[in-house]
């Protein structure tokens, strides 16, 4: 077990290192840098000024040097300054993280709350009208673009309540926060819950075909006991993996949802930073997302040890 943990940890570091190289190189391939954009916006190009800005930001240095500077700083906890606001990256990203985290947490809560029970029902009632309805609903969840769903929700609020539930100022109370976040969380969580539901269904159907289910029936277990006791325990195992991946990958859906609902979270911030070629923000934000993904994957693996008696990660 101990050596497994060490090995996993080293692989995580390797993945993060690879990600840092990948993202750094990709960003340097981007046509144009912040200086180009600033000057384009101003409608004039003064080569001397532009060169000065590039020199100030270190953009004139060889790419290896730039990379060394970034990683060196990162390891010392220095994330650099945003090109756009000229404030420390940490101060820019930091306050936005809790907002996105709350949204993602709420969305994940919704998706588990609906996804697992509906997936089980769909599998148990396989090929009944209820199953067909649930399957169509879950498939729509995977088919509606989350930004369109968000827009539809806005439309709905406009025509029925006359207000738009978008973020205008920070909420003051926790229930105000809950009310404000639950709409976008539902918009983005619909997709995750559809995914979890589908996986729960297929996992459940797979388990119901197993020999040990026949054994349980041969011993006189009732349908309820077979479905909810013998089968469900096995069926949720693969579902935990998807929940873990979704927890981290929700940020993809949140990018567009935060944009529509005007929420100042990290996901929308990433797009803004990319559009502005604000390298320090993009680099560090992508690294942060990757870190969250690998850590959650690691936690899911550990959770498996608890949930599945067969897995012991022998040395």
């Amino acid at each position: 077990m101990a050596s497994y943990l060490v090995k996993r940890f080293l692989l995580m570091i390797l993945t993060l290192f690879g990600m840092s190289v990948l993202i750094f190189v990709m960003l340097r391939l981007v046509p144009g840098n912040i200086a180009d954009i600033v000057f384009e916006a101003a409608g004039m190009v003064d080569d001397a000024d532009k060169a000065q800005i590039e020199a100030d930001l270190g953009l004139d240095q060889p790419i290896v040097v730039q990379y060394g500077r970034w990683i060196g700083g990162l390891l010392q906890g220095d994330l650099g300054f945003s090109y756009v606001s000229e404030r420390p990256t940490l101060e820019e990203i930091g306050p936005r993280i809790p907002i996105t985290a709350k949204l993602a947490g709420l969305a994940l809560f919704f998706s588990i709350l609906f996804g697992i029970p509906l997936g089980v029902i769909s599998a148990v009632r396989q090929n009944t009208p209820l199953d067909y309805v649930l399957r169509v609903v879950s498939l729509s969840g995977l088919s509606l673009p989350s930004f369109w769903l968000a827009l539809l929700i806005l439309m709905f609020f406009v025509s029925f309540f006359g207000t738009i539930p978008i973020y205008t100022r920070p909420p003051e109370t926790w229930w105000g926060e809950l009310a404000l976040y639950s709409v976008p969380a539902a918009a983005v969580g619909f997709r995750s819950s559809a995914l979890i539901m589908r996986l729960t269904r297929s996992s459940m159907l797979e388990v119901l075909r197993q020999d040990y289910i026949r054994t349980a029936r041969a011993m006189g277990a009732s349908d309820n006991s077979v479905n909810y006791f013998h089968a469900l325990k096995n069926a949720v195992l693969p579902v935990t993996t998807i929940i873990g991946i979704e927890a981290a990958f929700l940020i993809g859906g949140l990018i567009v949802t935060e944009t529509v609902f005007n929420i100042p979270g990290v996901a929308r911030f990433l797009v803004e930073a990319i559009l502005w070629r604000d390298y320090p923000i993009v680099q560090n934000l992508v690294m942060f997302i990757a870190l969250v993904v690998v850590v959650i994957n690691f936690l899911v693996d550990l959770l498996y040890v608890v949930l599945d008696p067969r897995i012991k990660y022998a040395d």
Binding site: L29, V136, S143, P145
Partner: protein, 297 residues
């Protein structure tokens, strides 16, 4: 025991189905949702191919008089701020969607298969390297990866296809690799090896054909994801540039401000995306049930 009408039960099981037409009908009855999906996809492809024939107005021509016209005679789905006909734009949008969806899926699958096959077949250091790179690429959500790729390649139709295809590669490669690993251990592959068949020949003759079924299943699933990703990228302004009529782009132009004033600008492009992705997903599900017996429900 109650008496049972054998013929009814047999018909349900699909006995006595012969000929391709009755087989098709049988499949459609057995997978009604899949058949529905196939119809949607067929309509989508039809609209993409014959877009110019089934519309009368150029999707890019502006008309100040029709700015924000509501749906009505002459403007079936209304017009946008610049007075461009939404019906024509939505129909022509199918072209973009199809091009990006099919283009990036084919590209992603092609590289995924080559990498996965090589990785599962050669093993050794190459496999180790591929696995690590896949790990890295899968540490970012599809959209984030596509976003970075799209930004670094610059906005164009071609680049959008490439940007979306790259994050699809690891998925395909991973499935093909594990499939290859399983197949290369099968007795008939061992037998081919024992008969002195070359490794390359074995890979092409035995292993590759057996990865076809999972590939079709995976490809159909990826198609929907690719179309959705294109829509999201364009929505965020990092995908298909103007003046191409991209569904995602249409929504970004009209996003929140037209929710109140011109809802048709929001409804039709979104409906088009959802319907097409829904169709491919339905079809993909039926494909999986049909081709992957382990998953069959």
């Amino acid at each position: 025991m109650t008496s049972t009408d054998h013929s009814v039960e047999l018909a349900k099981a699909g006995a006595n189905v012969t000929g391709w037409w009755s087989r098709l009908v049988f499949l459609a009855l057995r997978f009604p949702l899949g058949a529905f999906g196939a119809v949607i996809v067929a309509l989508f492809v039809f609209a993409a191919i014959f877009a110019d024939a089934i519309t009368t107005v150029d999707p890019t021509s502006t008309n100040a008089a029709k700015s924000l016209a509501a749906p009505g005679p002459g403007v079936l789905m209304g017009a946008d701020f610049m007075g461009r006909d939404m019906y024509s734009r939505v129909v022509h949008g199918a072209r973009i969607s199809l091009a990006v969806g099919v283009g990036s899926t084919v590209l992603g699958c092609l590289f995924g298969v080559i990498i996965g096959l090589a990785s599962g077949y050669l093993l050794g250091w190459f496999d180790l390297l591929v696995q690590r790179v896949i790990d890295i690429m899968q540490a970012l959500p599809l959209l984030v990866m596509a976003l970075v790729m799209a930004a670094s390649l610059g906005p164009s139709l071609q680049n959008t296809i490439i940007a979306i295809s790259i994050p699809l590669i690891p998925n395909v490669a991973r499935v093909i690799r594990s499939n290859t690993l399983a197949i290369r251990e099968l007795p008939y592959v061992e037998a081919a090896r024992a008969q002195g068949m070359s490794e390359l020949r074995i890979a092409v003759r035995h292993v590759l054909p057996n990865t076809l079924a999972p590939l079709i299943v995976l490809g159909t699933a990826q198609l929907g994801a690719a179309i959705l990703t294109e829509a999201s990228l364009s929505f965020l302004g990092l995908g298909i540039p103007e003046p191409h009529p991209s569904w995602g782009r249409m929504l970004s132009e009209s996003a929140a401000e037209y929710v109140r004033t011109a809802p048709w600008l929001v409804i039709f492009p979104g409906l088009a995306i959802s319907l097409v992705v829904f169709g491919t997903n339905l079809l993909g599900d039926a494909m999986r049930d049909l081709l992957d017996p382990r998953q069959r429900s």
